[in-house]
Amino acid sequence: MNRFDYVRADSVDAAIRAAAGDPAARYIAGGTNLVDLMKYGVERPSLLVDITQLPLRGIEETSDGGLRLGALAGNSEVAFDARVRERYPLLSSAILAGASQQLRNAATTGGNLLQRTRCYYFYDVATPCNKREPGSGCSAIGGRTRIHAILGASDACIATHPSDMCVALAALDATVRVAGRDGERAIPFGEFHRLPGDAPERDNNLEQGEIILSVDLPPDRFGPHHTYIKLRDRLSYAFALVSVAAALRLENGAIAEARLALGGVAHRPWRKPDVEASLTGEKPGRAAFERAAAELLAGARGQGDNDFKIDLARRAIIRALGQAAAGKPQSQSHKRLEP
């Protein structure tokens, strides 16, 4: 761990001022990922700006009937918030699928969006990694790739985004509200995280010094027709090999609207609006689900160890859409996968 300066910000503006001029500054809230990365020497911040005292903790109604999750609202607070459980059970479920209760108690909404890949090579400073050291090369390609991307990867990086919560937020069409030196802006969730391309060092589209204020959820549209399925190498406390967030709005026995997002397979939650659109008007059933799975996974490519994830994702999508259609979402406390 390197030496760093530390300031505690007492306002959003002060936080931005403290961090904006220094590319090596980092905001810290729960620290559940950042502190680990500092111990590994992956993150070497010059300055930590402690934002835990900022007034960003609340969970509030929005004027359009949605819900605003403050950037500092804890993962557990969100998951167990009565409004979230009632109106956005998909989000609650996805959060509870991740990490451990202790980590969820410490981790924040904004921090969850900003957690970094769990790629072994990113964590190991003895191996080249373009995400950690741009231009040094990608060691994962040709290496151990069990937890790596099958979609949207580049020659520079095959890392995945590890969040469960973000997969649900992508499916729910959330908006990320951020502030920087030039004021506030809103980023649609699908545009928040990036694909690696030739700049894998950038996980997302935040500008230097920008801070997340909240994640805003639009009004609920899916009722009980949702699910979050997470497949992993043990039944708890492991990152997803593949996860699926699915939500359906059914009208007269047909799909009126569909949302489908994958986790564990790409550098960001993987969604394709055209695949969702193609489900509209379909009768929910295996044939439609298989077609959607094939379309969502079009172009998927394995790296060796992770070839199986293509087939696993296909099966998981079909299962998830089935659960959503039946209105029988996956329980995250009972580890038996629902039919």
């Binding site: 761990m1 769990r118 190991d124 290496g143 497949l231 043990r234 039944l235």
Partner: protein
């Protein structure tokens, strides 16, 4: 034993309160004045030479006291001395900071010592080494396989081939693979070294053998053994990782000696991969049987990994010649040298890997023969050791099969794969046999009894979390007729009576017997005093005529005839009395008998028929291990073993990147062991077993048997559920999906 008020009964751990309240001190927790903190820098390459280490930036950090490397270390004869230890395999043991040669990735190449831990850790990140790297070889499949020229002490090479290969009507054959596994005990390896002058040394170490560390330090530093004290009162798990002294022990002592101040060295979790673990294996098993399932031939060949500098060996294949008789028995064991740290003896070394392969092959034979897996094993039951044609000291494996099967409900099993379902989950029932050695090795213990009726038991053995403190307390309390609260057991200190490392599941039997004998000797000495009294009521009594109970030495048949402890001591002018006792294995027993623990493991899995997710919903392990001293702590041992085996079956794998010769998942987030959610019902059945030959207590030990066979039972259950044979551990989704 004369009285058994506590022995054989469930008793809480006597060290439990100290542990849960934080009063139990571990190696990195002993407060020491003037302490310095050492942080280890490790190599990023797996093979080659260090060409330079740039220390300028690190040395410039205020608070850094010294940095040791192979070029900056005390010039002394230490490195010429013998670094081997009680359990070292043949070869040249690794010597930290010896020279510029890199033997494995993660090898310690520098020790940064500073006034504060944070300073040392920061400075360690500033140490920059450059290397002349060579291409590492870490693929067991592709390296040369050889028979180790020198056998490791205590590890018998495979017996000579017996019989000729025939044409058995039924044949099964398979290649099995097990990965590198690492113990990862909760407590990190740590050592705190304190010198008194330049010839007396105390180290608080994490170890399974304080005297093993003591002897190694004495040899290296040229000290009298009784001038070296290694203390390890409590161990936060070890599972074999602490059998050999780790480099943290030497480095802390070396640095403390050079700097003339106490030094503490604590490994990081990442560095726990630099101390060895379970070697990877590639195994071939071929079984031949008649139509009745009776084995005609057993062929089991294994290759295990070792380092380039030591021939670590374990018994992987000999179990196959022990468990079942066959006219033809051909067992082979070879090693492959890899550019990795020497493996160590991870819980149930050899048996965990080898019995997995054998017992999966037996399941395949059962399928092939159309015989129930339990019935197949009964038909091939060995009433005598088939390898050496000797009787067993005791063997209630037949009863274990029966009791385990009853508890599990095995009789309801439909033998056809994929025949049992629970909704969309495929249900599989599998079983396997487990076996481990029943070891009994020399130990010495001292019992001391004071006039106030309090006893102290002392033995250098370690309690690595198994319950040793508790069972020794029970044995002493019964022998001396005391409540357990009046017995204090002292362990884990090299100045105490001699004990070997705590391993091999031998401590309960061996230390337990030593304590039992010490207490008996003590009573004998007390009787001598009591007989000195005028008109002693015990004047004519012999040792076997008396017992000690409630502070009275009394006649066994006539409790009214007694001498109080106080009177007996006063008669000799004593304020206490003590005696030593030694467990001394009788060689003739080993010549006449074979001694093993056995188990029958039954597993139920439920596998999502489409997604391949495996849940082990039930485990029943019926264990025949002689006398059970404390069913509560023994059960905990076996539950832990079962979870260990479950992790082996489904989760554990240190993933190597051969390009770097480096394990890539070196943390507990990515090196998976079972989480709570993975553990469902586990039943332990103690099979009554009368053991009359091995030791006076009739104890065999249960530390390792819970692991053996568990992975095979689960793999067999997965096959029964899905029809998919997975012969390479761990059984992960990717290996099942193509067959679903």
């Amino acid at each position: 034993m004369p009285q058994t008020q506590h022995v054989g009964a469930e008793r809480d751990r006597v060290d439990g309160p100290a542990k849960v309240t934080g009063h139990a001190r571990y190696a990195a927790e002993f407060p020491v004045d003037g302490l310095l903190y050492g942080v280890i820098v490790t190599s990023s390459i797996a093979r080659g030479r260090i060409t330079a280490i740039d220390l300028d930036a690190a040395l410039a950090v205020p608070g850094v006291v010294q940095i040791f490397t192979h070029r900056r270390r005390p010039e002394s004869d230490w490195y010429k001395h013998d670094f081997s230890d009680d359990v070292a395999p043949p070869g040249q043991p690794f010597r930290a900071l010896y020279d510029d040669v890199v033997h494995f990735s993660g090898q310690p190449i520098a020790l940064v010592v500073a006034e504060e831990f944070g300073i040392a850790r920061h400075a360690a990140t500033l140490v920059k080494a450059t290397y002349q790297a060579a291409t590492p070889e870490t693929d067991l499949q592709t390296v040369a396989h050889y028979t180790p020229p020198k056998a490791r002490n205590g590890i018998a090479p495979p017996p000579a081939r017996r019989g000729k290969a025939g044409d058995a009507p039924l044949r099964v054959e398979g290649e099995f693979r097990t990965p590198f596994e690492y113990q990862n005990p909760m407590e990190l390896f740590a050592a705190t070294a304190v010198w008194d002058g330049d010839d007396k040394l105390t180290v608080y170490d994490k170890t399974q053998g304080v005297q093993n560390g003591q002897n190694q330090l004495a040899k290296i530093f040229g000290l009298k053994p009784d001038h070296v004290r290694v203390v390890s009162h409590y161990v936060g798990g070890a599972f074999g990782a602490g059998l050999r002294p780790q480099y943290s022990l030497f480095l802390s002592a070396m640095a403390a000696r050079a700097l003339e101040r106490p030094v503490r060295v604590v490994l990081t979790r990442d560095q726990m991969w630099s101390i060895g673990g379970r070697p990877a294996t590639i195994q071939h098993v071929r079984l031949g049987a008649g139509p009745d399932g009776k084995l005609q031939s057993i062929e089991h060949d294994a290759v295990g990994s070792t380092s380039r500098y030591e021939d670590q060996q374990e018994n992987i294949v000999n179990w196959s010649g022990l468990l079942y008789p066959a006219a033809t028995t051909s067992l082979g064991y070879k090693l492959g040298k890899l550019d990795l740290v020497t493996p160590n003896d991870m819980r149930a070394p050899g048996a965990a890997s080898g019995v997995f392969a054998l017992e999966c092959a037996m399941d395949e034979l059962a399928s092939e023969a159309g015989i129930d897996p339990v019935e197949l094993r009964l038909r091939n039951y060995a009433d005598r050791d088939p390898a050496e044609d000797k009787p067993f000291t005791s063997k209630e494996l037949r009863a274990a099969y029966r009791l385990g099967a009853e508890k599990f409900g095995w009789g309801e099993r439909n033998p056809a794969p994929r025949s049992m379902r629970d909704g969309h989950e495929l249900v599989g029932w599998g079983m396997a046999t487990g076996v481990w050695e029943a070891l009994y090795v020399p130990h010495t213990a001292r019992a001391t009894l004071t006039a106030d009726g309090k006893a102290t038991i002392a033995c250098a053995a370690s309690d690595i979390g198994t319950g040793t403190y508790t069972i020794l307390t029970q044995i002493a309390a019964d022998a001396l007729g005391l409540p357990m609260e009046d017995v204090t057991v002292c362990l884990g200190d090299s100045k105490l009576p001699t004990a070997p490392v705590e391993g091999g599941s031998w401590t309960a039997a061996s230390a337990g017997t030593a304590v039992h004998i010490a207490c008996s000797e003590l009573i004998g000495k007390l009787l001598e005093q009591a007989r000195r009294l005028n008109d002693s009521p015990l004047g004519a009594a012999g040792r076997d005529d008396v017992v000690l109970a409630a502070g009275r030495l009394q006649l066994r048949g006539d409790p009214a005839k007694f001498v109080t402890l106080g009177d007996a001591l006063r008669a000799g002018g004593l304020d206490h009395i003590d005696a030593e006792g030694s467990a001394k294995p009788d060689q003739s027993v080993a010549e006449k008998f074979t001694a093993n623990t056995h188990s029958a493991v039954f597993a139920e899995v439920k596998v999502d028929a489409e997604l391949g997710v495996v849940r082990v919903t039930r485990l029943v392990i019926a264990v025949a291990a002689g006398k059970i001293l404390n069913p509560k702590t023994a059960r905990s041992q076996l539950l832990g073993g079962a979870v260990f085996g479950l992790g082996m079956a489904l989760h554990e794998e240190s993933m190597l990147d051969h390009r770097f010769g480096r394990f890539m998942n070196r943390n507990l987030g990515e090196y998976h062991i079972p989480a709570h959610a993975d553990i469902h019902a586990i039943d332990i059945v103690f099979v009554p077993e009368q053991e009359d030959h091995l030791n006076p207590l009739g104890v065999k030990g249960v530390g390792e048997i819970g692991v053996v066979g568990t992975a095979a039972a689960i793999a067999n259950a997965v096959h029964h559920a899905t029809g998919v044979r997975v012969r390479e551990l761990p059984i992960t989704i990717d290996k099942l999906l193509p067959g679903l």
